[in-house]
């Protein structure tokens, strides 16, 4: 195990950074050490964002029985005597999109509050990138090691609400303002279950540090069953609540009301064009990626391998693999579910997710208190914990959907 932990591939990114740092003169080493980390995160997740958009468009296309983007190839460089005619499966689409967004005209409404209109996309991208600082991407790869990392993550994420308000209000457009208020109502409603769904993990792992939470999930039963928190009753319930709230927090379908284009023009983005619009778009994907990364870290074992035999695979590959799976799941959900109404949205949060998340915190407390139970008591522990999840789910779910389901269809004779 320790051999795998110090394998060359595991240390390669750090060795590369240290090698680059020692090339520079001594006074610059401290700052360049951090700059290299920042540039690496920006480059990796910038490219990840670019290819997420292609993956999303292609997958959604396939889900809707179309092909998706497949035409963007390479441009003909005039210095080259030949032209690569391969279309590269449309993989260069995001770069074409970036050029398009950059060269579009940037329109600022005459009545807009110019400063806030400019600041909103800057704030939203800045803070959504800051959340990446505390995600452990690998065994040794964590940009900033913080004792209160989870708190930092949610603190940085909460700034996006302010940015949405700034965007909606500064546009001086009634649709923008209305949509911004709706977006804020949604974000505030879902922030509570999002944070409450992570609290059980903090309770059981008794730490707020993301790297320590990953460490706490690093063991296997019989070498094949990983001790990830998602494989416990409270962890599973927490993970599902986290998934739903993460979807809502990143304004994705079925919770994409803030920019429901058929109802509110484009929400708080109505008066944004060109690169500022692209920045909002980017921030949304960065937020989604960061939340998925947090979900992977907190519930899916972070960079831990799923079984002991695969321990030799570098840890950062496991993290990225799980991250890609999470993103794919979100795209799949977007292609499958219909958009909710605003009253259904808030009711789902306050009447269903929040009570379940609160009960789940109690469930985790029970789990933490019975940590030393063994033998047949272990079965009792699992049964009680599962009952705390399932019984309220059924009771609250039944009472909320009473009178609505099952839906009956009547056809004209």
């Amino acid at each position: 195990m320790s051999a795998a932990a110090d394998s060359f591939l595991e240390r390669a990114p750090l060795e590369l950074r240290d090698w680059a740092v020692q090339l520079l003169p001594a006074p610059l080493q401290w700052i360049s050490h951090h700059l290299i980390t920042i540039v690496a995160v920006l480059a990796v997740f910038g490219l990840f964002f670019a290819f997420t958009t292609v993956a999303e468009r292609k997958l959604l296309g396939r889900l809707q029985n179309r092909l998706g983007p497949n035409r963007a190839g390479l441009p003909k460089f005039s210095i080259l005597p030949w032209h690569i005619r391969h279309k590269l499966f449309g993989l260069s689409q995001p770069f074409a999109d970036a050029v398009k967004a950059l060269t579009k005209e940037d329109i600022v409404p005459a009545a807009a509050d110019k400063v806030l209109h400019f600041l909103a996309p800057v704030v939203v991208v800045g803070f959504s990138l800051m959340t990446f600082a505390v995600l452990p991407f690998g065994r040794n790869l964590i940009p900033v090691e913080l004792d209160a990392a989870l708190l930092y993550f949610f603190a940085a994420g909460s700034a996006s609400e302010l940015a949405i308000f700034m965007a909606g209000w500064s546009s001086r457009n009634k649709y923008s303002l209305l949509a911004a208020m709706r977006a804020l109502a949604q974000l505030i409603s879902y922030e509570l279950p999002l944070i409450l769904s992570v609290v059980p993990v903090v309770l059981v792992a008794s730490t707020l540090s993301t790297s320590a939470i990953v460490q706490a999930q690093g063991a296997w039963t019989f070498g094949v069953l990983p001790h990830w928190f998602v494989f416990t009753p409270w962890g599973f319930a927490g993970f599902i609540i986290f998934l739903i709230s993460a979807l809502a927090e990143s304004n994705r379908s079925p919770f994409d009301l803030p920019e429901a284009e058929s109802e509110l023009v484009a929400g708080h983005l109505t008066e944004y064009s060109g690169f500022k619009y692209a920045l909002f778009f980017m921030a949304e994907y960065f937020g989604l990626t960061a939340l998925s990364g947090l979900g992977v870290t907190v519930f899916l074992g972070g960079w831990q391998a799923p079984c002991e035999l695969l321990y030799w695979v570098p840890s950062y590959l496991w993290f990225m693999g799980k991250l890609i799976l999470m993103i794919m799941l979100f795209i799949w959900v977007r292609g499958t579910l219909l958009r909710l109404r605003i009253d259904q949205l808030t009711r789902l949060s306050w009447q269903f997710l929040v009570p379940l998340a609160l009960l789940n915190v109690g469930n985790a407390a029970f789990w933490a208190l019975t940590a030393q139970w063994s033998g047949p008591l272990q079965l009792v522990r699992w049964a009680v914990s599962a009952a705390i999840v399932i019984v309220p789910f059924l009771v609250i779910g039944r009472s909320l959907s009473a009178g609505y389901a099952p839906r009956t269809y009547r056809y004209a004779p």
Partner: protein, 172 residues
């Protein structure tokens, strides 16, 4: 280190002063958020990570929303720049009275507070320690704060709910 503290102080006080001077209420609210973020920066400077992040989460994330919602939902005038009426004598007098009493309370608290000499190395307060301190030693204070907040919340709901019968035509 002192330069950083000065910078934080200037940013904090500057944005607070600007918030007072702006005529636009939304600008004032956003500048107030900047000031609260400055307070968080000061906590970070002092090495209190946990309090700093909690400050941002609570003030920049939640209290700012309450302020902004309150400004937007209570304003009757459609104009963004609400004209502020000329100050009357009673208004000036009450402002001075409130400011003086606040200054007296804060001033007496600062004057009577004992500042123990800082130890050479900052105590490494982990989140677990903070939790234990909060729950054991300051448990009563935490409970009282919780009760006060709950009472405020219920009071706000009672005030906000209007008992007028709804016109059945308006029902969704």
């Amino acid at each position: 280190m002192t330069a950083a503290l000065l910078l934080i102080a200037v940013l904090m006080l500057g944005s607070a002063a600007a918030a007072m001077l702006r005529r636009n209420l939304i600008h004032s609210a956003l500048l107030l958020v900047a000031s609260w973020t400055g307070v968080a920066a000061f906590y970070l400077w002092a090495g209190a990570e946990f309090v700093a992040f909690a400050q941002i989460l609570v003030y920049a994330g939640a209290v700012s929303m309450v302020v902004l919602f309150a400004v937007l939902l209570t304003r009757q005038s459609r104009e963004a720049d609400l004209p502020i009426e000329p100050a009357t004598v009673t208004r000036t007098a009450s402002a001075f009275a409130v400011a003086a009493s606040l200054a007296a309370v804060i001033g007496s608290a600062v004057a009577t507070a004992r500042f123990p000499a800082a130890s050479a190395e900052a105590p490494a307060a982990s989140v677990k320690q903070i939790g234990l301190e909060l729950m054991a030693e300051h448990g009563a204070a935490l409970l009282i704060v919780g009760i006060v907040l709950t009472v405020a919340l219920i009071g706000a709901t009672v005030i906000a709910s209007n008992d007028k019968k709804r016109d059945p035509e308006d029902a969704p």
